[in-house]
């Protein structure tokens, strides 16, 4: 038997190694020194190391592990967004009840595990690595959703996410099987090759495969009509995890969305492009309309996430360099806008009895201006108003859509944004303006995040550095990139060039 030692680019896989080592160390630290609170620090170090190793390989695209992974600027930029979000999540998780209940070490190593899945997913260029990465990303998240062990909502959230996520994975896997059956290749490039070689253009086998894979990915990115789990899961999960899920999962799933549809299925453009455009339009409408009547801020952000996913899907639909760049830009902007909002929600959740209900932010403008400003900026940015990164992101996306002859989808984005104003500004109005009707303060609300566990744990949570700091930072970055967007535009255009350049 002949044995050829495979060539391994250790530099290329070093971020993955760093994360794996991080997971082991965090887990063991919790076992051997359970009294010391080392987990958050060690997790941050692991994340920083990974980010550093990724930045080190910026602008140096390479193919890893016999073509299973491709580390290019798209993968790096998406990974960096995920890592950054995870970093915020670690800070926001300080003093979080979930970390106490589930064990700090376990919580953080699961978080790192999910990040590992995301970093892998962003690089995946093979059906196998794609699926393995997706599961590595998802399984820790199922558990993390349920880490608030004593709260029924959290357990429900975890279970729901597990079931729906499994359906999504199964659908995706089934679709992959069709593609593999048709082309005999698991490699993205090989699939494209197989479609051309076997004359499978528009073949039902391939079409079913594409449809099922798209549905599976739509489950993960919470694109309507596969979004029903999103509000429930977002609401039930511990808030830092919701923030992580809302941003990082979406980023990673969109990365593979781009790569899969561009590299493997680029030749089938005419078949899937209108379908994805329709999904994007449905998502925009369903998400925005769904968010209108929500009193729970996390549910509202869940629905708004559905709508935003619809906007971002536009970047996939046009399949162009500017589409990809605009998607990466929007994801980065979206990360900061959402993190600012979630940081504030974490703070208010701990210091009021209202949980994540909109009443929790009533009068925030006078009570805690340092939290009110970030939330205001976040809401205005999500609504796409100027002088925030959200505006530039929408501008970039619409430009890509118009260039790609999808002006009608751009109009949909504009219409969706109008609807969204109603619910984003409702939050702003609650913070700064006189309430519509006075509620007796201290009365326990009967809805939305108002289980008995929602008692304030820390009446000063809104002034702690680990709440105010992330909130202010994320908001400041949102404004910064709204006024000086050039650095982020360049960052995103690298990612676009990686796929199309």
């Amino acid at each position: 038997m002949n044995f050829n030692e495979p060539h391994l680019d250790y530099a290329g896989i070093s971020p993955l190694i760093a994360l794996t080592v991080g997971i082991c160390v965090v887990l063991l630290s919790a076992v051997f020194k359970p009294t010391k609170r080392w987990a958050p620090g060690l997790t941050t170090i692991a994340l920083a190391a990974t980010a550093g190793l990724l930045i080190w390989q910026w602008d140096d695209p390479k193919t890893l592990i016999t073509g299973a992974l491709r580390l290019d600027d798209l993968a790096i930029s998406i990974s960096l967004i995920s890592i950054l979000t995870a970093g915020f999540c670690v800070v926001l998780s300080l003093r979080e009840r979930a970390t106490e209940e589930a064990g700090s070490g376990e919580y953080h190593s699961l978080l790192l595990g999910s990040v590992l899945g995301m970093v892998l997913l962003a690089q995946a260029t093979n059906l196998v690595s794609f699926f393995v990465a997706l599961e590595t990303l998802s399984i820790p998240l199922y558990i993390l959703c349920a880490t608030n062990l004593r709260r029924e909502g959290s357990l429900e959230s975890g279970l729901k996410y597990l079931i729906v996520g499994s359906i999504g994975s199964a659908t995706l896997l089934y679709g992959m099987a069709f593609l593999y059956g048709g082309t005999g290749a698991t490699n993205f490039a090989g699939i494209a090759d197989g479609i051309a070689r076997n004359g499978l253009d528009g073949d039902p086998l391939i079409l079913i495969g594409i449809a099922m894979a798209a549905v599976g990915l739509a489950f993960k990115t919470s694109i309507a009509p596969f979004h029903q789990w999103t509000p429930d899961v977002y609401q039930g999960a511990p808030t830092p995890i919701t923030a992580f899920m809302a941003v990082a999962t979406k980023a990673a799933a969109f990365a593979v969305f781009l790569r899969f549809f561009d590299v493997a299925l680029g030749s089938q453009l005419d078949d899937w492009q209108p379908a994805l455009a329709a999904l994007a339009a449905i998502s925009i409408v369903v998400g925005n309309v769904g968010a209108l009547g929500q009193d729970s801020l996390k549910r509202m952000l869940g629905y708004s996430g559905v709508a935003q996913a619809g906007y971002m899907l536009g970047g996939v639909v046009v399949l162009s360099e500017s589409g990809t760049s605009s998607l990466v830009f929007y994801l980065a902007a979206y990360a900061f806008m959402n993190l600012a909002a979630f940081a504030v929600i974490v703070g208010r959740e701990r210091e009021t009895i209202f949980g994540d209900d909109i009443r929790a932010v009533r009068g925030l403008g006078t009570e805690r201006p340092l939290l009110a400003w970030p939330l205001t900026i976040s809401m205005l940015a999500l609504a796409g108003l100027p002088a925030t990164a959200g505006f530039i992101g929408k501008l970039y996306l619409i430009e890509a859509l118009v260039e790609g002859d999808y002006t009608w989808l751009a109009v949909f984005i504009a219409i969706g944004t109008m609807i969204s104003l109603a619910y984003y500004l409702r939050v702003v109005a609650a913070m700064w303006m006189r309430p519509e009707t006075e509620v007796a303060s201290g009365a326990r609300p009967v809805i939305a995040g108002a289980s008995p566990e929602a008692d304030p744990v820390d009446p000063d949570a809104g002034s702690r550095w680990y709440i105010v700091g992330p909130a202010l930072l994320a908001a400041a970055v949102t404004v910064f990139f709204g006024i000086i967007p050039q650095p982020l535009v360049e960052f995103a255009s690298h990612a676009g060039a990686a796929l199309f350049g």
């Binding site: 038997m1 044995f3 030692e5 082991c24 076992v31 073949d203 039902p204 086998l205």
Partner: protein
């Protein structure tokens, strides 16, 4: 265009061909199983006229002395599941050592050793975690 009438069969037929052994296997399995089930009925002792406790037990399939249908109140300790799950996890993971074992001698390389050590260390971390968490204590 469609797979179903691709006469040259460059796509659909090869796929079918690879599934042939499975079809044969399924067919054999069903046939053999069915024959034995029928033989039981044909050759086994017939039901006596009067039903007693002993005769009822006689009619049941033999299950190593354990009642076939457990009573509703029967409970397993949660520890049992835990241990069983851990066993399955580690048991299956160890299977991954098998391919390395096959090529170990031919390969004769430090790389393979390194791979194996990495794999075992990862397993070890999990094992240490499980052990220190007390999941192996039977309480």
């Amino acid at each position: 265009m469609s797979v179903y009438n691709s006469v040259d069969g460059h796509l659909f037929l090869p796929v079918l061909k690879t599934y042939l052994p499975i079809l044969v296997f399924a067919f054999l399995g069903l046939t053999v199983g069915g024959i034995f089930a029928m033989l039981n009925h044909l050759l086994g002792p017939k039901k006596p006229a009067r039903e007693t406790a002993a005769s009822r037990r006689q009619g049941e399939p033999y299950e190593s002395g354990i009642p076939v249908e457990p009573t509703k109140g029967l409970r397993f300790g949660v520890t049992f599941y835990l241990i069983a799950m851990l066993f399955i996890l580690f048991d299956i993971e160890v299977i991954f050592l098998y391919p390395i074992g096959v090529i170990l001698k031919d390969a004769d390389s430090v790389f393979v050793l390194g791979e194996m050590i990495t794999f075992v260390v990862l397993l070890l971390v999990a094992f240490v975690y499980v052990w220190r968490k007390g999941a192996l204590d039977w309480r």
